[in-house]
């Protein structure tokens, strides 16, 4: 028998079964996240299943992030319903303004090395940055967890992605993630887990890894996991909710595919409308006018992202006329850090619109909606037609630096032309 992948090890441990890729196991999740986008339906399923008592309410987390703040009476009522249910059953709830559920799971030390955290939201793969098996589920499976604390999972085959070298100046983790999307395609990792490896990992700090793990679902991946190392432990110092045990793949683990990405050879990239894997070098799209620039989301809404964007904007002399710059921190902790270090004031000084921490404009459910025919460049993860609430807008995805360069020039620009 060959050795085991990270997925095989974690899901064996969480099911109590010595299992391999292809096996179906019933696992106990360490934590499960429900958002305001998914939980109301889950509560309907829970009631229909005959649910009365929540199994392990302390392992659940509710986050009001998709409608933050509530843009309508109907969504405000959904929030009331979640607050009432959470209060009655003792489920921790992050209310409007606390931030995106995924960011809160990470900040609160619930996503831990060797752990299993599921979320009723596709971007739950983000937790893989911490060597945690994180995966997205629907509302009915969330209801099953409310009922039983358990979920069935088919142990995925794994794709090993070797990252080599170090990102050059002006090139960021988002560019590496877009390169991965270009290489694998939008369904290149469907039903599979991605394991990042290689000497390039050591150069990426925890916030960098979150970007890469977050994007793996755009290739269909079930999980996108990093090894745990000193950077992981440093991040978790003072945050970890429980003791944890990192999981390393065996040297002879079996992978269905291996690819390598030379980080030192990458250039700034952009995903063109309306597909995440329609990726080109930024210079190929240079000159495309943009009217809205969005900095935020569970991909690109952390402190480091805003610092990178701020640096480019300052070097370029601010936001170009005719561009709406929208800044939406991923969490209150991020907003607070930006306020304390002066970054927030700099964005305000440049005329940015500051949004409530949360999902914001990403999926068109709240926040700024682009106008007809508008070109948007965004640090988000999806550029589907209509994604931000207007099907006639076109969405480009890029790094915070590339987005900032576009904001400064009013057109898509290689950020290396500006420098910092």
């Amino acid at each position: 028998m060959p050795g085991k992948t990270i997925s095989e090890k974690i899901l064996s441990a969480k099911s109590g079964v010595d299992a391999r890729a292809g096996d179906v196991v019933v696992c106990r999740a360490d934590y499960a996240l429900g958002t305001d986008g998914s939980t109301p339906m889950a509560l309907d399923y829970f009631a229909a299943m005959g649910g009365e008592r929540v199994h392990g309410p302390g392992r659940m987390v509710f986050a009001l992030d998709h409608y933050a703040p509530a843009p309508s009476r109907a969504t405000a009522v959904l929030h009331q319903r979640m607050r009432e249910f959470a209060g009655r059953h003792g489920i921790p709830l992050y209310d409007v303004g606390e931030g995106i559920g995924h960011q809160l799971i990470v900040e609160s030390g619930r996503a831990l090395p060797g752990g299993l955290v599921v979320g009723a939201d596709s971007h739950s793969v983000t937790y893989g940055a911490l060597n945690c098996f994180g995966t997205g589920i629907g509302s009915s499976d969330l209801a099953a967890i409310l009922m039983s604390g358990e979920i069935w999972l088919r142990i995925p085959e794994s794709i090993r992605v070797n990252l080599t070298g170090r990102l050059p100046d002006g090139v960021y983790p988002k560019d590496a993630a877009l390169e991965l999307a270009r290489r694998l395609g939008a369904d290149g990792a469907t039903y599979r887990a991605i394991e990042f490896a290689g000497d390039g990992v050591a150069w990426l700090d925890l916030e960098d890894r979150l970007v890469l793990s977050n994007l793996t679902v755009e290739m269909g991946a079930k999980a996108g996991m990093f090894p745990a190392d000193e950077r992981t432990f440093a991040y978790l110092e003072g945050r970890a909710s429980t003791p944890f045990e990192p999981v390393h793949p065996d040297p002879d683990a079996s992978y269905c595919r291996e690819i390598s990405i030379a980080l030192d050879g990458l250039a700034p990239l952009v995903a063109l409308p309306h597909l995440v894997d329609r990726v080109e070098p930024v210079h190929c799209a240079a000159g495309t006018p943009v009217q809205m620039v969005y900095l935020g989301t569970c991909t690109g809404g952390r402190v480091r992202d805003f610092h990178q964007a701020r640096d480019i904007l300052k070097a370029a002399g601010g936001v170009a006329p005719g561009v709406q710059l929208v800044v939406t921190p991923a969490s209150r902790e991020v907003l607070d850090a930006l306020a304390r270090d002066g970054t927030l004031a700099e964005f305000i000084g440049m005329g940015a619109v500051i949004g409530t921490p949360g999902c914001g404009s990403c999926c068109g459910t709240c926040g700024a909606i682009p106008g007809d025919g508008v070109n948007v460049i965004s640090t988000a993860n999806r550029n589907f037609k209509g994604r931000m609430g207007n099907g006639s807008a076109s969405i480009y995805l890029a790094s915070p630096a590339s987005c900032a360069a576009a904001a400064a020039r009013g057109a898509i620009t290689d950020p290396r032309e500006i420098g910092s």
């Binding site: 179906v24 109907a74 629907g138 939008a186 999806r382 589907f384 037609k385």
Partner: protein, 169 residues
């Protein structure tokens, strides 16, 4: 799975149909009722679809159907329109799971030669294209999914068992 064969009309879509194209995220803000949401089915791809869909239609798609958001309204809105199956070259894992949990049959097979409006006979494991005479073999569901479908979905499964029962393949 013991579901009988049923007749269906093919409604054909392409590759990478994400869940926001099936039903946009903003529509679920105001209602989660499938009978409301069905009015907006596929509105970003084909504004006339919601008006022309009929019970007995099935969705026929290419690769990666249901990619993107894991939102389950992308399944319940389809069911709300009287659609009982989606036949595709491939599904995102969350759509596949959500479909099974709600009793929407997800069938994986070679859909390349099915045309809009083709008359199909659909059963688990086999789709016959009556219009062309071709047959398409579809992939089997894992055993636990067969059990969930056999019970009529995850709600009925949990009402019966209260928790997941199976390990194995």
């Amino acid at each position: 799975m013991t579901a009988p064969a049923f007749e269906a009309r093919a409604r054909v879509f392409g590759d990478d149909v994400n869940t926001d194209y099936i039903i946009t995220s903003r529509r679920k803000r105001e209602s989660l009722d499938p009978q409301v949401l069905r009015q907006y089915l596929f509105e970003e791809l084909d504004a006339s679809f919601a008006g022309s869909v009929e019970p007995g239609d099935v969705i026929v798609a290419g690769r990666n159907f249901g990619c993107g958001s894991a939102m389950e309204v992308a399944v319940t809105a389809v069911l709300g329109a009287g659609i009982r199956a989606v036949l595709a070259r491939g599904f995102s894992r969350t759509y596949y799971r959500n479909a099974v949990n709600n009793g929407l049959l997800p069938l994986i097979g070679d859909t390349g030669r099915i045309a809009e409006g083709d008359h199909l006979m659909v059963e688990p494991g086999l789709v016959r294209n009556v219009s062309t005479g071709e047959s398409i073999v579809t992939e089997p569901l894992p055993a636990i999914m067969l059990d969930i479908v056999g019970e009529g979905g995850l709600v009925a499964y949990f009402r019966k068992y209260g928790r997941f029962q199976v390990t194995g393949r």
